[in-house]
């Protein structure tokens, strides 16, 4: 029996696979009217509910949005940031942005500025940019803000003392913060959990890349994390929860096509392998 077809099924040229992958991604991008069944996962719903709870119970409370992502994880973290900031502004929640990555400060600022114009957010009154701090200062800054936020951070990104802004009125320690949102592809959430959430019991929300997410399910189970947006699927979930479909929704559709393609390729490869093994067995050969 001709074995070549079964061999080929196990060793498809990777260039064809990449081409098929790009086609699978492009179908949902070009057919934007395709309706995708996007059911938000429980961690995303919990994330949304925590923000809603802040809006309902502490309307003048302040939320910290800490970004540690850069252009290398833009595909996931940018859309999470956009969906989260949109929700905060829709519910008119005050927030402060903080960055521990050189690129993140500019990238987050771009998103916030564009949305601030749309939702009429006023700098210093509705939101504030606490600016960039070097990654090496991450632990000392978190230890400092536990007890003294204005004394630790001192100035905003333009050099103005943060205590002089109306938004900072009554905000001195983390105990005055309504929730903390960490958007990061790294394990920086560990430090927030250990040095801030564990001490003050402040609701902590996490938006990681999908690759980092499985490690943190245990923290959801223990209640240390109040919600989690998992990668671009999380961004899509959030967009559907706030009824503002954008890239995340379309990317979730594209992901479904990609997963279907991968499953198909796994099946094709296994059929080839099993068929060759059956042929070898019938011919009395130990290995195909």
């Amino acid at each position: 029996m001709d074995r070549s077809i079964w061999h080929k099924m196990q060793s498809i040229d990777s260039r064809y696979i990449y081409a098929a992958l790009i086609v699978a991604i492009l179908i949902p991008l070009f057919c934007s009217k395709l309706v995708y069944l996007n059911i938000p996962s429980k961690p995303s719903i919990d994330f949304y509910k925590t923000i809603e709870n802040v809006a309902n119970t502490e309307p003048s409370g302040l939320v910290i949005v800490d970004g540690q992502w850069s252009s290398s994880s833009r595909g996931e973290n940018k859309w999470q940031t956009q969906a989260i900031i949109t929700h905060l502004m829709m519910r008119h929640i005050h927030f402060a942005t903080l960055s521990f990555d050189t690129q993140n400060h500019t990238l987050t600022k771009e998103i916030v500025s564009a949305l601030a114009a749309k939702y009429h957010y006023v700098y210093g009154v509705d939101y504030i940019d606490w600016g960039y701090r070097p990654p090496s200062a991450f632990q000392p800054v978190l230890k400092g803000i536990d007890t003294n936020i204005p004394g630790t951070l001192l100035h905003d990104s333009d050099g103005t003392p943060i205590a002089s802004f109306p938004i900072m009125k009554g905000i001195t320690t983390v105990k005055d913060i309504s929730a903390i949102i960490e958007i990061s592809p790294t394990s920086s959430i560990d430090t927030w959990l250990g040095l801030v959430q564990g001490v003050n019991n402040t609701p902590l929300l996490y938006a990681p890349t999908a690759i980092s997410a499985p490690k943190y399910y245990t923290y959801l189970d223990s209640g240390q994390l109040s919600g989690m947006l998992i990668g671009v699927k999380g961004a899509g979930d959030y967009e559907s929860l706030i009824h503002q479909p954008s890239f995340g929704t379309r990317a979730t559709g594209a992901l479904s096509f990609v997963y279907a393609l991968i499953i198909l390729l796994v099946i094709v490869g296994n059929i080839g392998h099993l068929k060759l093994r059956a042929i070898a067995k019938s011919e009395g050969i130990s290995r195909p």
Binding site: L29, S32, S73, G198, I211, G231
Partner: protein
């Protein structure tokens, strides 16, 4: 093709971004010089950007300006302290680096201790899950179902926890058949976890590719609808 469209796709920022994306993705088909060129451009840009931000956002406002503009010359003392780190490169001044490293290690150890306790103690505490359901809420018409699912969930959690912990008994040889079964089951559920990790890895990689495709076909070429 309208002039507005041409003006858009010939926008240097967008065009350079698109060219960079195509060049870097071209590696999957074949190693080539265009890929190498953009790889170096990307690395150079990222490093240059880091240096610029470190100066404008950290060193100038927090060290240079307070000294030169505000006359707080006490900050100059931080420079010799920083230079003490470099004592590690000479035998004569090695002791200097040990002083600053010692201070940093002490501070870091104290912080890490607090960090570990605050993160893992709640995990251990929450792993003691009850197998007796709590009293049902008044008016709950599915109280039996909720109680059964509560007990099953917790029983499953405890079983998996114990099995996985048994798998990590490497200090002595397990001969008891029941313990061996538990250890094997622990290994099996670990495989499930690794499978989930692999699935999540694919999601991240694909999300990055989808974002780049979106940039090329939606933002730049505008072939696909916004």
């Amino acid at each position: 093709m309208t002039s507005a469209y041409l003006h858009h796709i010939l926008n240097p920022t967008l065009m350079f971004g698109a060219l960079g994306t195509i060049a870097l993705l071209s590696l999957v088909f074949k190693e080539n010089k265009l890929y190498r060129l953009f790889e170096h451009i990307y690395l150079g840009l990222a490093l240059g950007y880091d240096v610029e931000i470190t100066w404008t956002e950290v060193l100038r406002p927090q060290l240079w300006d307070p000294m030169v503009r505000d006359g707080q010359w006490v900050w100059v003392l931080t420079i010799p302290v920083g230079l003490m780190f470099y004592g590690v490169y000479t035998r004569r001044f090695e002791w200097m680096s040990r002083v600053v490293f010692g201070i940093f290690f002490g501070a870091a150890a104290g912080t890490v201790f607090q960090d570990m306790c605050q993160r893992f103690v709640p995990q251990v505490r929450k792993s003691f899950k009850p197998l007796v359901p709590p009293p049902s809420a008044p008016g709950d018409i599915h109280s039996t179902l909720h109680a059964v699912s509560y007990v099953l969930n917790n029983a499953l959690f405890i079983t998996i926890l114990v099995c996985v912990l048994t798998y990590f008994f490497f200090a002595f040889d397990i001969k008891n058949k029941f313990l061996l079964l538990m250890a094997r089951s622990g290994r099996l559920v670990l495989m499930f976890a690794f499978g989930a990790l692999f699935g999540a890895t694919i999601m991240t990689r694909m999300a990055l590719l989808i974002d780049r495709m979106y940039f090329i076909f939606v933002d730049w070429l505008q072939w696909a609808p916004k």
